[in-house]
Homo-oligomer: 591 residues x 2
Amino acid sequence: MYRTHNCGALRMADIGKEVTLSGWVQKSRDKGFMMWIDLRDRYGITQLIFTEEKTPPALFEMARSLGREYVVTVKGTVIERSSKNDKIPTGAIELEVLNMEILNISKTPPFTIEDETDGGDDLRMTYRYLDLRRNPVQQSIIFRSKLAMATRKYLSDTGFIEVETPVLIKSTPEGARDFVVPSRMNKGQFYALPQSPQTFKQLLMVAGLDKYFQIVKCFRDEDLRADRQPEFTQIDCEMAFVTQEEILNTFEGLTKHLFKETLGVSLADFPRMTYDDAVRLYGSDKPDLRFDMPFVELNELAQGRGFPVFDNSELVVGICVKGEAENNSNKDIKKLTEWMQRPQIGAKGLVYVKYGQDGSIKSSVGKFYSEEDLKAWGDKMGAEKGDIVYVLSGETDKTRKQLSELRLEMGRRLGLMKAGDFKPLWVVDFPLLEWDEESERFHAMHHPFTSPKQSEIPNMLNGDHETMKNLKADAYDLVINGSEIGGGSIRIHDRALQSKNFKLLGFTPEEAEEQFGFLLGAFEYGAPPHGGIAFGFDRLCAVLNGQASIRDFIAFPKNNQGRDMMIDAPSIISGEQLEELGIDLALKEEV
Amino acid sequence: MYRTHNCGALRMADIGKEVTLSGWVQKSRDKGFMMWIDLRDRYGITQLIFTEEKTPPALFEMARSLGREYVVTVKGTVIERSSKNDKIPTGAIELEVLNMEILNISKTPPFTIEDETDGGDDLRMTYRYLDLRRNPVQQSIIFRSKLAMATRKYLSDTGFIEVETPVLIKSTPEGARDFVVPSRMNKGQFYALPQSPQTFKQLLMVAGLDKYFQIVKCFRDEDLRADRQPEFTQIDCEMAFVTQEEILNTFEGLTKHLFKETLGVSLADFPRMTYDDAVRLYGSDKPDLRFDMPFVELNELAQGRGFPVFDNSELVVGICVKGEAENNSNKDIKKLTEWMQRPQIGAKGLVYVKYGQDGSIKSSVGKFYSEEDLKAWGDKMGAEKGDIVYVLSGETDKTRKQLSELRLEMGRRLGLMKAGDFKPLWVVDFPLLEWDEESERFHAMHHPFTSPKQSEIPNMLNGDHETMKNLKADAYDLVINGSEIGGGSIRIHDRALQSKNFKLLGFTPEEAEEQFGFLLGAFEYGAPPHGGIAFGFDRLCAVLNGQASIRDFIAFPKNNQGRDMMIDAPSIISGEQLEELGIDLALKEEV
């Protein structure tokens, strides 16, 4: 037996007991006549003590020989510490070691195994098994486990059944790129890894399973932006015989439960906002509502006064930043303007109006507008003495996106996005389709299985092109603090409507049949009305912990090139394997 | 709102209530002036009633128009049934329908949606969404969900952390064949899908996670035998600082808990048997102990008496079948002998000795052995009056396998393998290595990471070839009713020992480094002693339900050619996809 207790267990009440512990050498302090070692495991740290007086010389020597991260098992007596450490739960005691065995030695780790490490990202990923020994990373992984358990318990307790859907499925070119798997038994054919279990969960509803969930790995072969992973995890859910209202209530309940269970935070009822309002008021379909600072449109007040930039703009829109008039010098504003003009944001310029504490009004467009004009802007925007207003103009969509960036930057600079403050929001009434000017075709705003609102069905079946652009769907996102953590919709359950949607999305009837014939077929055998939602589980972990990156909530993440640095995957495979699979490499020489 | 109650909810106490139900039309009975419809959902069946007297004619007409599997929502009043059905929980009431809407129609299903269906396997798999509507299949899927939840709860409550390991990993030719995934971002390179998370769970132990579990999909590209799936699910577990004893106790605890939770069955402590004993006594490393009927070796008593077949055999071994002497005519025994001689078993012949109720002894080898000889056999085998003894002989391994088949067949014929009777068994002390005469190399009996017993380590590091053949490992299987439902081992945590094992298994040092360098490297940074186990989750579901096949416990299984008949996968992918992935098809024309 390697231990009677773990390294976080011993307390004053254990004094006098003879115990066995096992763990890693975190650090040692050698005073010559006395020596202490911090022994670490997942559960905590216990201090070991060796003294010239009591420790046999050979044992003392062995203790001195231990390096960082050596693995030992020790037997000893629990004694009271003379100087207690109230920062750790075991800080009142220490272990007077009687016996020790070195279970394994360790080379010096390539970075320090401390809360703050000196290791860079690549090094940490290559030695992820050492990075995972660090308390913050280990706690993130443990948090994830708890969150998954709490999710499963809540959903099981409310009648949901967890069903495993297959990982080896069929490639469908719609949406993102699939990872594919060549089939040896069916040469020339491929499985695909699921981007989500969407069609399977719908089939489970057709099958009468009624309430389904699964915490499930999904796969997308996309060019990886920062903080995207080729494999990621979803809480995937579907219900039959439900309206949007019931789905929102069910998963608002889940979300509240998870916050309560894992953080002890009680969330109030979630507000709802239409997609159109979110975009109009915050320039984003995932507004961070930890602070308000809504957009105010100024077209009426700012156009037709002879300022050509505004006059020629589709939209003139601003935000009011409270109490910041005096804190921003012309130099500061110049720098901010340059920040807005970077290619990532692409604003042409930035107009400001300062409403001074002394009643003065100063603006970069002062020569085009009277003080009365600027006062009217301020009134519309709710600006008071001491506030500053920033205004952008241009093409509507672009301008909103730029102003959204500015709004978030103001939130960051003013500390308005507080850790521990959670502002959930349902964004509802998404458009069904999105017209892509470039490819001259519709894309599904959510996915091809999303239903238009009941009232829109006749429009969808018979409407013209303009009507299609304006169709609204029973589609919704759950947004927390500016992160989309979930999204879903009521689905189509009628073959004719689904076929129409495929047609709008540019599928020929043959392509629709080839790729989704099984689903269209299923709709002919009594498919019930149904809908669902999927949560990004990695993102949910991060948001609950106020972290920007999902990386530390994934035990073995891949880097931005899709590589696992630790195991060095992907890698080449043997010619024999390729032959068995019936494929050749078609590599062109890079020049 | 589609329903106020589900179809399994209403009772006498609800009489008089106005309720809304939704579901599928299971069947209807039309008496002309009166009509009943069984409305079905996941939760049960509720009877709807329509009467000439009370139902508006248009509604009655609509009811008559409904076909099997139509989806409807009905509003009505709960009334007491005149003739109650005590076979279903809602059998005391029926719903007098006031209002009905047809939510979806259905074509006539290709097979009956009943407990016993008329659909063949292929048809059921093609329309799996209809097959899943059948109660036994739906209950199997729900059982699986419950079993997973009970597993997770038990392991979480005992300090295990569920960690998701990656699905896109590295191909390693050892073991079964990998499914591989071409990487678009790293052309010419491939990920592999995990055959198990073995190395990752070991790295989690190196990382100090201490107690890990995961219910996880695994993948093997094998030629599918009956009841094998290319993707299957494991309960995968690992612990650090543990001995084999602690692992066996922990997972015996889990297994007992699962039986209690899902079946209400209390299992007694599991017996243990060494691999050598299991093979010697039952000819199998997974004996079905619902009945005993052990092997008895007769070499001493049967050789040297002038019967050349036995004299030239490595092993003479038999079983005693109680009370079956009088039930087997010579014709029966001839048929049984032919059954044993089929190529699947391959016995050369079958010797019997009947110990008659009248004290007579009859045997097919009576002319070679005296009655005294045969009596001595009987004594050794515990044969009493009325019993029959079957004896096989030949090369030891083959003979044991043949006799094991005979033993199981006797168990089946005599009804000794009772449903609801569960006989778990730990088989321990597996050999570390298995010598393959054909390829003249060692194979790992469990896997290449399994540790020899502590006492065997010096033998392994320094022993000769014969010593290697006899090394015993800390490896164990959990067997229930003749099915292996779990297996595991204490792992190697020392680089030198692991390297030695790779060498024995035929890896060059370069190959070992190329494929498992990350693990060997991890062993140099304070790897703790560790070990674990994995349960076949699909098989566990089947064994708990006394089912031979795992198929109905998988929502969307693949057939024996690895095809998903419903979605028709695998399938061809576009030339564009192939090009992006940097691969070509290398298909040869079949002649």
